[in-house]
Symmetry: C2
Subunit: 416 residues, 2 copies
């Protein structure tokens, strides 16, 4: 990081940018006991996904996460467990505005702590909006640099109406003249910091809009930029469901088939590639993962290891070790499907039972490392039509395992 001039993909960012992420909310609206930013899906709390969205942006230097005292240890553990590198955790205040101000103060070096470098621009975001993307952050940062302040807006979803004090319709607003104010918002650091220094106790206690403070105390009219619908705020339990489904769908978009050198495996891999392609999955085929030094491992969260007869468990153990060493499964569970093409037709039932036992043992170990291992045994049936049908079934089962990422089904040997 540091100075980013001329780096590809950094757009026109030639100034320093940091993020403040207030994460003190209690989340009573989800209907869950845990504050929603700490609710987990795929074994990871929502706030870690949001942090990751900023951490992968090269021109963002620091992320200050502001939490309530009760959640301080939890947050420090999350940063450690998921390997977040740009995060500083600080204690919040009793309201949202007080927490944001505390976050901004982390760049001022109060007391004897060594301060973070004061950025030119600070982006303020919600911990519960995990799908913010680099291109939009770039727009917000550049507009904040140019105008002093900037904020995401969205068209209104519903008509907004004014009500009488007795609960009757008074009038409805003209929808085209208004927008919903969302996050992220961007500010010249000095502007938003001065706004907080000057603002009243009433602002700290009841205010919600940072944009409003910048306008009132610094005379800065924020530039408003329409953001994508993916900026939405995870508020209710249904939003957690939606977020989990979106992450699962994203993880399922690509798979890598590893074939070894056997001709039959390669043929099956190509048939799978075609059919998974029809299910909107992008499939790469390679002969071995072990010699590809991370190139394919980092591209996908799903691996299908195709072998002929039962020579493969050692390979699979080695694959599991490779994933472990790469740290690839820290952020998301990796799916590893072992497809065994049974060409002999005489392989006995007891051989198959032995294979099941072996897979189960490897799977139990792998699951502890966030690697989900499943086995599929494919009988080589005679006749083109029956074979087509078998491959179609294999594809359906493979796609289902990848999409659902269910830990309870690991170690099973399925049959096609």
């Amino acid at each position: 990081t540091g100075s980013n001039e001329g780096l590809p993909g950094c757009g026109s960012i030639d100034f320093t940018v940091a993020v403040v992420l207030p994460a003190g909310g209690s989340g009573e609206r989800t209907g869950l006991l845990t504050p929603k930013q700490f609710c987990k899906f795929l074994n990871r709390p929502l706030i870690s996904y949001t942090i990751q969205a900023f951490e992968r942006v090269a021109w963002i230097e620091n992320i200050v996460v502001v939490v309530a005292k009760d959640n301080l240890d939890l947050m420090v553990n999350i940063v450690q467990q998921f390997g977040h590198k740009k995060v500083t955790v600080v204690l919040g205040g009793s309201t949202r505005h007080r927490s944001i101000f505390k976050g901004l103060q982390a760049f001022q070096g109060r007391g004897d702590e060594s301060p973070l470098t004061k950025p030119k621009v600070v982006i303020i975001h919600d911990a519960v909006r995990p799908f913010v993307e680099e291109d939009f952050l770039l727009k917000i940062a550049v507009a904040a640099r140019e105008q002093g302040a900037s904020g995401a807006i969205r068209p209104l979803v519903s008509t907004v109406i004014a009500t009488t004090s007795e609960g009757y319709l008074d009038h409805s607003l003209e929808r085209v003249k208004y927008r919903a104010s969302e996050m992220p918002q961007g500010f010249m650091y000095d502007i938003i910091y001065q706004a907080y220094v000057q603002c009243s106790e009433a602002d700290f206690e009841f205010g919600t809009e940072c944009l409003h403070l910048a306008l009132q105390y610094c005379g800065t009219n924020a530039k408003l930029i329409e953001g994508p619908s993916t900026l939405w705020k995870v508020t209710y339990k249904r939003d957690l469901f939606a977020a989990e489904s979106i992450i699962k769908e994203t993880l399922s978009q690509a798979a890598c088939v590893v074939t070894g050198v056997c001709a039959e495996s390669t043929q099956l891999a190509h048939a799978l590639q075609k059919r998974l392609g029809a299910l909107d999955m992008q499939v790469d085929i390679i002969s071995t993962l072990l010699r590809s030094t991370g190139k394919f491992i980092s591209k996908s969260w799903n691996f299908i290891h195709v072998t002929v007869s039962n020579s493969c468990l050692e390979d699979v153990q080695e694959l599991v070790r490779t994933f472990e060493e790469s740290g690839h499964a820290v952020l998301y569970p990796v799916v590893l499907i072992l497809v065994q093409l049974d060409v002999s037709e005489q392989s006995s039932a007891s051989e198959r039972m032995a294979m099941l036992g072996a897979i189960r043992d490897v799977a139990t170990e792998a699951r502890r490392r966030n690697i989900l291992l499943y086995g599929i045994l494919l009988n080589h049936v005679q006749g083109a039509e029956k074979w087509q049908e078998a491959v179609e079934n294999l594809s359906q089962i493979t796609a289902a395992l990848i999409k659902e990422r269910n830990p309870a089904l690991t170690g099973q040997l399925l049959w096609v």
Copy 2:
């Protein structure tokens, strides 16, 4: 239906109520090609779930669904396939208001069609808000009867801001004074019908709020009632994900374990009941489903058939036939899990292979009837601790199959 005075659960509804459901939208915001009201999850289009929400309310007599010409055949097929009994499908107009007016006209008996009986109160709702519940519909209907018009409102999720013509912040609205106008809305039929008769071409072309028309043309100030968050509108793809997850969660709340008369089955059933209970599932145990004449069948969408050794496939076939005859699987896929407790320890691998083949054949047939059949083979391991662990694994797998309802995994024999 008809007159409902004094019926338990009908509250104070002593007047006739019908529903108009405009379903003409094109749904470009979901990012999908299909209009969102016709997008499917669990094999059923969204609009059928919404229709079902009204159809199960005893005091609602008619549901008029208004569709675009292109979707007329599709809609008629949906009504037939899912057995909707209270629905009349009519052709819509070129805008939302024109479509609602067409829906209202279905109660006027134009031309030579035999008209629907004109209701005292009409509820207007969106086809893409499937989770509306009877208690809220009751509030809306009663308030419409008393005040002439009523509408659901929700607190604003985001701050609403006014923008300058150059895209800068002008001012933000005081959140407490405003509400989001949602659906359903209720009207005295004569009031909303007269409002449409009198309204202008501009209203038909550009208007969105029925409440506004009732106010402008009939002087009726609608009573506004805060609704639950579940009234939200399915707008984006993530909302379809959320709706699917909510339905799946609801279907997974209860299961029924069928044991036969064997003591070991009954014992296992009680262990399962306890552990599934810890996963928030309400479990009933019965000895046989076949003689219970629909009582348990209608209560649950999940059945776990526990048997000892392989005597059970005929029972399962008979269960599948029972579900078929009951029509239970028309609206939702029914999960049927065959748990076989293997106490002999000598049952050979080839016997197990035979069982797999048999399950698969029954499952293929059952799946065509929306019945998802899975097999689980449980080895009776020695030692209390190992047995506890096995039962825990069984519960995890059972819960996963029930929660995911995945057709691709039917016919599999899983192993614990």
